[in-house]
């Protein structure tokens, strides 16, 4: 159960940061509702954010392994 709690906390942290970044990227001047292009932008931003997260994790992980190999 502790593991589930950690996973939930991690997901919340990720969602919060993603929401902040995508709100800043996709919403210029906030209007009366999310228009179509804003909705599309948010969906794409979210998918790209998770792609980028994976790319960054892989890059960090492989760097850690190279550093360890050099020690």
């Amino acid at each position: 159960q502790v593991k589930v709690q950690i996973a939930v906390a991690n997901a919340q942290e990720l969602l919060q940061r993603m929401t902040d970044k995508c709100f800043r990227k996709c919403i210029g001047k906030p209007g009366g509702s999310l228009d179509n292009s804003e909705q599309k932008c948010i969906a794409m931003c979210m998918d790209r954010y998770m792609d980028a997260w994976n790319t960054v994790s892989r890059a960090y992980n492989s760097r850690l392994q190279r550093e360890r190999a050099n020690m």
Partner: protein, 83 residues
């Protein structure tokens, strides 16, 4: 200090919960201000004109819309991945 009776304890818990909810509300308003102040207020003038007021209100609503959209889509992705 005297021991708390059961009724007092329930009352205390209710108070603590109410304060926590207020603190969460305040923290969220600080967060909105962080995002919406720079988006909506350029040079501070003699009063908040109606355009700025509308921008601030919409900023709150659109941010919540964004949160709901992202959370909903994320839940879908997690469910599909779990099948």
């Amino acid at each position: 200090m005297a021991e708390l009776g059961e009724a007092d304890e329930a009352e205390l818990q209710r108070l603590v919960a109410a304060e926590q909810q207020k603190a969460q509300f305040t923290a969220q308003v600080h967060h909105f201000m962080e995002l919406c102040w720079d988006k909506c207020v350029e040079k501070p003038g003699n009063r908040l004109d109606s355009r700025t007021e509308n921008c601030l209100s919409s900023c709150v609503d659109r941010f919540i819309d964004t949160t709901l959209a992202i959370t909903g889509r994320f839940a879908q992705i997690v469910q599909k991945g779990g099948q």
